[in-house]
Amino acid sequence: MTASGLAAIGAYAPRLRIDAAEFEAAWGRFDAAGIDAKAVPDADEDAVTMGVEAARRALTAADASGTDVAHLAFATTTPPMAEEDLAARLCSILNVPDDAKTQTMTGSTHTGAQALDATMDGGPFGDGIGLVIVSDCPRGDPDSEVEHAAGAGSVALVVDDDGPGAVVDRASHTEAYPGTRFRTGGDDRTTGLGVTQYDREAFITTLGSAAERLAVPIDDLDAAAVQSPDGKLPYRATGALGVDAETIAAADTVSTLGDTGAASAFLGAATAFADDAERVLIAAYGSGASATLFVATGPVPVETALDGAVSLSYAEYLRRRGEITRDEPEGGGAYVSVPSWQRTIPQRHRLVAGRCVACGALNFPPTGACNDCHERTGDFEAVELPGTGTVAAVTTIEQGGAPPEFVAQQSSSGEFDSAIVALDGPSGEQTVSVPAQVLDTTDEVTIDTPVVLTTRRIYTQEGVIRYGFKAQVASQRR
């Protein structure tokens, strides 16, 4: 029993970009063939926040919501926490029911395919849906091929029983090829031995062997979205997969986003379906080595935010990567214990405000006496806010103006806007104010600027990443 319908795909890449020319200027060379530019996560982005961005877009495209999700699989080679079920945080942020089956998968760039495979096998979902979130932001040592190629991006696939799209066939192959691309325990930098012929053999053998197992012919493809650690390797597999270079190029994302790791092949499929592709091969490969092929048919509704908006210099890039920045200074920051943070998760993840049962005013956070009538009713009617609003007061925190726990963020990303946002109530008639950072923007943020809230890292304390909301200038939402 499976679910093989593809109801929608959402895709996201950070707005920050760096051109290959910046690397060439810094290093005298650029080691990632076939990449013109790549996406760079901001200081408050990681695989979880990018995954949320893709998932929200996929749910919108599917005309579904988090409450419909019966099975959520999260796949990344760059989990922000090495141990912890990050699917739990994603479920909380996306409002997925607590009886949904969850999987957090990692280990190789093949993990996105494993997540889709497992989710399909978790069906049928009846009225519900499966949600596969594949999000990745690999990194390597600054002078390595991996780092030169390393991009960032995320994809979410809504799997259901009926489509409109469908996975019509799938096949895998696993064969031991140690040492092609790896990361040792405790390290956050991916590396490889660079044994060119061996690496290619692993890639071609696993993908080609999987292709031989497909039952349906793959000769009528509009695009072949092939794993792209750089812009050259996927084209080495034309023979093994039986597809031509043009078909692979039709699903290219590596040239503009860089190596998106586990999300690579799926991002390619997202762009192909966004271009009205009818039949797409998804060819995912991971070092170790293993490969899975999916033959998917459209139409599949797609919502993407893949365009870049800001070009970084190489020095700015190093700051965003944390290579030349300072950590949180000694002396610590405002202490918010993990249990007290956990009690506010409905507000931080889902904007749950409260309506005072005495006077009807909206309260955020909904605790204590009513902020408006000051009655201590001890009870608020839970109200989920839509997350839109306008700036009511704002400042730009310059160097030296931030508390110590935001020094690292400021060191990476520079000055930031901090605002009070009047958030719209559920039916627009009332507002309730919240403080929020405003995401870096090319426009000036002033009072009355419309914003939408999104999920980002707020800060890390005691080693625990705290996710919450930040505001984004509405006109800048991609």
Binding site: P329, E330, G331, G332, G333, A334, Y335, V336, S340, W341, T344, P365, N371, A392, A393, V394, T395, T396, I397, E398, G400, G401, A402, P403, P404, F406, V407, Q409, Q410, F416, S418, A419, I420, S433, V434, P435, A436, Q437, T446, I447, I458, Y459, R466, G468
Partner: protein, 390 residues
């Protein structure tokens, strides 16, 4: 209830004093306050003490009241630390007045102390934000400069006010502070200096922000029953008002008014039986220059939105109809958090008793002090009255 009087008040210089500890600073302030009592006072006559301090740097965070008073030789008496952020010692004075008025003490000491300049800038920044709303407001990356800057953004949007008005407050207070030998930043600055300083939190620049200072200040409060033993020129605590509000700006009713200040002032005027026009001067809480503009309106010196005109007209200059911050204010005199409120009482006492030297007003009768905690989570207002005709 019987009346309470300020019979003496004194303070250390405000500034950076690496040679001093919080205890030695407090001790110096006690000595100056004791020495300022007309007929003298034996410290054994002090029945109890209230010490304001935020505790910046940690230091003696617990039992810092007794730690300070025992060091100053005030042995054995009840002593307690009060914490209300930057309004700590304003509230300490209020507590001492309460003790005296209630009859529990005939003489009570109210003081405050803070040491803020012996730490790295990172550690200082940690402490500067601890009185902001911690779980939400601070986690948007703000300390107080950011929160007051948000208030400034709203004020500049709502009223006919500009960044130049923010700078004008700095120029005025530095001009006053240059005449105060106890001032931390006792130098004059030009409007150009004040307008061109590096931005801290837009629209606030460095000159729109007060410094962080070391210092201590002490006031001695005596009852009507004993005041004649100590002075022939009694300074009566004519009115006290205090109020609280939500700690986080985002939960307040207004971003362009400090409601707690307004409520505290209303109570103080009512108790004192005076109106703003009766005042001869005021020491207001100008931690950021926007705060002084808000104070003009919160304290009823002018209507909402008219603070910039009051400033332009020179009303609040030293030679104006309502001189504000003759001491230099927090901006120039300095802001050792826990000592600030008591320090304002010191200036008012000096003005009313004719001891303010170069910045002395001619025969003032009523002076107001205004001390704010955080960005307006608490406020306390005192109105002092010189009873004798001059």
């Amino acid at each position: 209830m019987r009346d309470a009087y300020i019979i003496g008040a004194g303070q250390t210089p405000f500034g950076s004093m690496p040679e001093e500890s919080y205890r030695s600073l407090f001790d110096h302030a006690v000595s100056e306050a004791v020495d300022s009592v007309d007929h003298g006072i034996d410290t054994d006559a002090i029945d109890e003490a209230v010490v304001g301090s935020l505790g910046v740097g940690g230091r003696q965070l617990g039992l810092s009241g007794p730690a300070a008073t025992e060091h100053a030789g005030l042995h054995g008496i009840p002593s307690v630390r009060v914490e209300n952020a930057c309004a700590a010692s304003g509230y300490a004075v209020r507590q001492a007045v309460q003790a005296v008025k209630s009859g529990m003490a005939d003489v009570a000491l109210a003081g405050g102390v803070e040491v803020m300049t012996d730490m790295s800038s990172d550690v200082t920044k940690y402490w500067l934000g601890v009185s902001g709303e911690t779980e939400w407001e601070r986690l948007t990356g703000t300390t107080f400069s950011g929160v007051y800057a948000q208030m400034a953004s709203a004020y500049l949007r709502e009223y006919e006010a500009s960044e130049e008005h923010l700078s004008m407050v700095a120029v005025k207070n530095h001009r006053n502070g240059a005449k105060n030998p106890k001032a931390h930043l006792g130098f004059e600055c030009s409007l150009e200096d004040a307008a061109s300083a590096p931005v801290v939190a837009d629209p606030l620049n460095l000159y729109h922000c007060c410094p962080t200072s070391d210092g201590a200040a002490v006031a001695l409060v005596a009852s009507a029953d004993v005041v004649e033993q100590y002075t022939d020129d009694p300074i009566r605590v004519a009115g006290v008002g205090a109020a609280s509000d939500r700690v986080g700006l985002f939960q307040r009713d207004s971003y362009t008014a400090v409601s707690a200040s307004e409520a505290a002032a209303t109570t103080a005027y009512d108790r004192a039986g005076v109106v703003p026009d009766d005042l001869d001067f005021a020491e207001v809480h100008d931690c950021f220059t926007i705060a002084e503009l808000l104070a003009y309106e919160d304290l009823g010196f002018c209507d909402r939105g008219e603070a910039p005109q009051l400033l332009e007209q020179g009303t609040t200059e030293a030679d104006g109809a309502m001189p504000v911050n003759l001491s230099g204010g927090l901006k120039s005199k300095g802001h050792p958090i826990g000592a600030t409120g008591a320090g304002q009482i010191v200036e008012a006492f000096k003005q009313l008793t004719g001891r303010a030297a170069d910045r002395q007003l001619a025969a003032p009768k009523y002076g107001l002090t205004h001390n704010v905690g955080g960005s307006g989570g608490s406020a306390v207002v005192h109105i002092l009255e010189r009873e004798a005709a001059r």
